[in-house]
């Protein structure tokens, strides 16, 4: 084949492929289910076997099959943002994450992706947190631990947002059938506490430092787009000082507690009591409640 002929054919093929793509696969906007506010139900369990706690809370909510149907893709987003070992309490505990992933697999998920947009170096955070090893230890090809791919952040308009009108969200999370959030309960100097709502910071891209001005409203706004089907609040040990990064065992208190639910505001409201605070003390809980993301009145939350 002549060079000229080859180039012509390549050009023609590319055009054809491009046109075909436009016709067959229209770009669509992602909408995360469910849009309706979840029931303010919080399941909690206490005990020393942390893996069982996860099973117990999810059982109390009706079992994993209520959240994950067979053949669905699931993204699990634990907090594994920091290059800290499990006992330092900066990340979700690997036992908890592993149990959630295992339950998803048992429920028949087609694929379970575990990922977080970390603060410290991703390789170190994934490794040191123990989560990568714990999930890979399941030896199930459906469970994968993936690093965030910067190319996959897409810019979305947040229609009802008050401050964060537009931001970058992770495509895999938006496209997944199910999204499960596993925060760890910690103090955080600016937002005071970080749990379910604040953990969504690891599902967004962009220069995240920039949205720390007016953080409370920004967190509430990003939670309008990011609507996990299930939140598993890891309070097996909570960080009471030097949050969110910690670094010393004395920053951490062991509480042997796991709480789960579909309402992040209710879970966070419950979480404040672990630290001796009230839901109204935390700016982003109030803002998320105002935005209709859930129930913050502890009296209206049903505990199971």
């Amino acid at each position: 084949m002549e060079r000229r002929e080859f180039l012509k054919r390549v050009a023609a093929l590319s055009l054809l492929a491009g046109a075909g793509r436009r016709l067959v696969m229209p770009q669509e906007l992602w909408a995360m289910a469910p849009l309706a506010a979840a029931q303010p139900v919080v399941a909690k369990a206490e005990g020393s076997n942390w893996a069982h706690l996860v099973g117990d809370t999810i059982q109390a909510l009706g079992g994993m099959r209520k959240f994950v149907n067979p053949g669905e893709t699931v993204v699990v987003k634990p907090n594994m943002a920091w290059d800290r070992t499990p006992e330092l309490g900066a990340n979700a505990h690997p036992v908890v994450v592993r149990q959630v992933v295992e339950l998803c697999l048992e429920a028949g998920a087609k694929q379970v992706k575990v990922l977080d947009h970390t603060c410290d170096d991703a390789r170190r955070s994934y490794t040191t947190s123990g989560i990568k090893a714990a999930v890979e230890d399941l030896r199930d090809s459906r469970a994968v631990v993936e690093y965030v791919d910067e190319r996959r952040f897409v810019e979305l308009n947040i229609e009802k947002a008050k401050a964060l009108k537009k931001w970058y969200f992770y495509k895999d999370i938006l496209e997944a059938d199910r999204f499960i959030n596993i925060p760890v309960a910690k103090t955080h100097t600016e937002s005071r506490l970080t749990m379910c709502l604040k953990n969504m910071m690891g599902a967004i891209g962009g220069w995240r430092g920039r949205i720390h001005v007016g953080l409370a409203q920004n967190i509430a706004d990003m939670n309008l787009i990011l609507r996990p089907d299930l939140h598993v609040l890891d309070a097996t040990r909570i960080m009471v000082k030097n949050g969110p990064k910690g670094g010393r065992p004395e920053d951490v208190q062991v509480r042997n507690l796991v709480a789960a639910g579909a309402d992040p505001v209710a879970l966070d409201a419950f979480g404040t009591t672990l630290f001796g605070l009230k839901p109204a003390d935390i700016g982003h809980i109030v803002k998320a409640h105002d935005a209709g993301r859930g129930e913050m009145d502890l009296n209206k939350i049903k505990f199971v």
Binding site: R21, M25, C119, G209
Partner: protein
Amino acid sequence: MDNHGFTLSPRAWARLRRISQILFFLFFLFLFLKAEYAGQSILTWPVDLFFRFDPLALTAHLLARSPLVKGLFWSLAFIALTLVLGRFFCGWVCPLGTALDGWRRLLFTPRPDAGVAARWRRGKYYLLFGLLAAAPFSLNLVGLFDPLSLLYRTLAIVFYPAAAYGVEKTSLTLYRLGAPFTYVSEPLYQLSKATWLPFRPLVYALPFLTLVLFALVVAAERVDRRFWCRALCPLGALYGLVARFAWLRRRPTALCPDCGDCTEICKMAAFAPGKPARHLSSECQLCLRCLEQCREADRVAFTWRAKAPRAPLDLGRRQVVTALAVGAAAVPLVRLGSLARRPDEFLIRPPGAQNEAEVMSRCIRCGQCLKVCLTNGLQPVLWEAGLEGLYTPRLLPRLGYCEYSCNLCGQVCPTGAIPAMPLDVKQATTLGTAFLNQSRCIPYTEATDCLVCEEHCPVSPKAITLNEQEVISPQGERVRVKLPVVLTDRCIGCGQCEYVCPVGGAAAIRVKKSLRVEI
């Protein structure tokens, strides 16, 4: 070859040499790629292996009376081998030599040598003497001219980031185009990602200077084959001084009067001027092209038993003395600049390398620390440390910080310029101190909370804490704000605060030389 048990044909020997070159070059690249964090805190491969076998680094290190580094003494093995074989390193091992051979074949049409390198042959010895004369005065610049350093840092600063950028951008373009293209591009991209691409795109200071310096070395190939090796390379000169006494010698020991083709065949022009034109074992790099291309059978051989007198290595007493004097005189001259006395206040050195004089006298500018740095924060210095600081490493926290639980740079440093420290020692090592610029910091200027610096501070208890105060906002309202403050006695100067500071341009919190670090 002197056929005692060896039955390889001349052609096979030459092929063996080429294979050796390629294998060592690939090994060099492999170790280069392995100088990266891959899930284990201790690197699995001895990534600085080539530098352990670098007698030039060892010589300068000893002359500068730096603390002994055991690893460097492996290079004595290569000195011993050179005493037996000659400059085999240059022809069979040196990855820069291989790279130059490759570039020449790629870029230039074969042509007769211009002969400049042959006239400048002694230049490399003078360069070597000059460099070594400065070393006892703790001015150790061998790294700037060491071929391994030159190649490694050029790879690290220019070629590797550039190649990675090309692949990243191409894959991104195809990724954006979507479906049919990604069927091909994505598997290829993921494969590259898993094998050779850096974890995240890398950027380094001085890419153009580095590229130009390397391009000059390559361009000299157009004038003469292996110009660098013949006229400039101080490591080649060091090996040449030893190879003069090599047991293995070429026979015939001079250019044959009836032919003389070897003057053109030889890449190194390893024949002394005059008649008979004696073969110079100090120049010969045993490429064996003369053996391969000789038209007569069994005429050229390499033998242990040549008795003929060797060509003298006449470097000229005056010139040698001049070279030594220039090297010694360079010491005060290089250090006359004010930066040499009081380095830039933002010149933050890697962990453990806080003593400027020690870093300077030990660093061989190889660039391994730049390559291995987890965050891409280690960057080459231009003149911020005075003239002699060129290509020494510094931390630029705006590009990457010093990761609290990482000590990789100390693990790869072949000369101990960055000491290999256990993690707990490294974590207690102070690089500098963070200083807040209250006229740029958001809580101070806008009276709203920010605290990203405090959030990321890795020491516990945190070196950045806050004062909650009621202040008058720019709008004239009374508001309570959490104002960050640095507790300098806790700060280790890792620069993570500077890295994450959301203020554009220069961060509102910057690491400067510590109040407690000697300068």
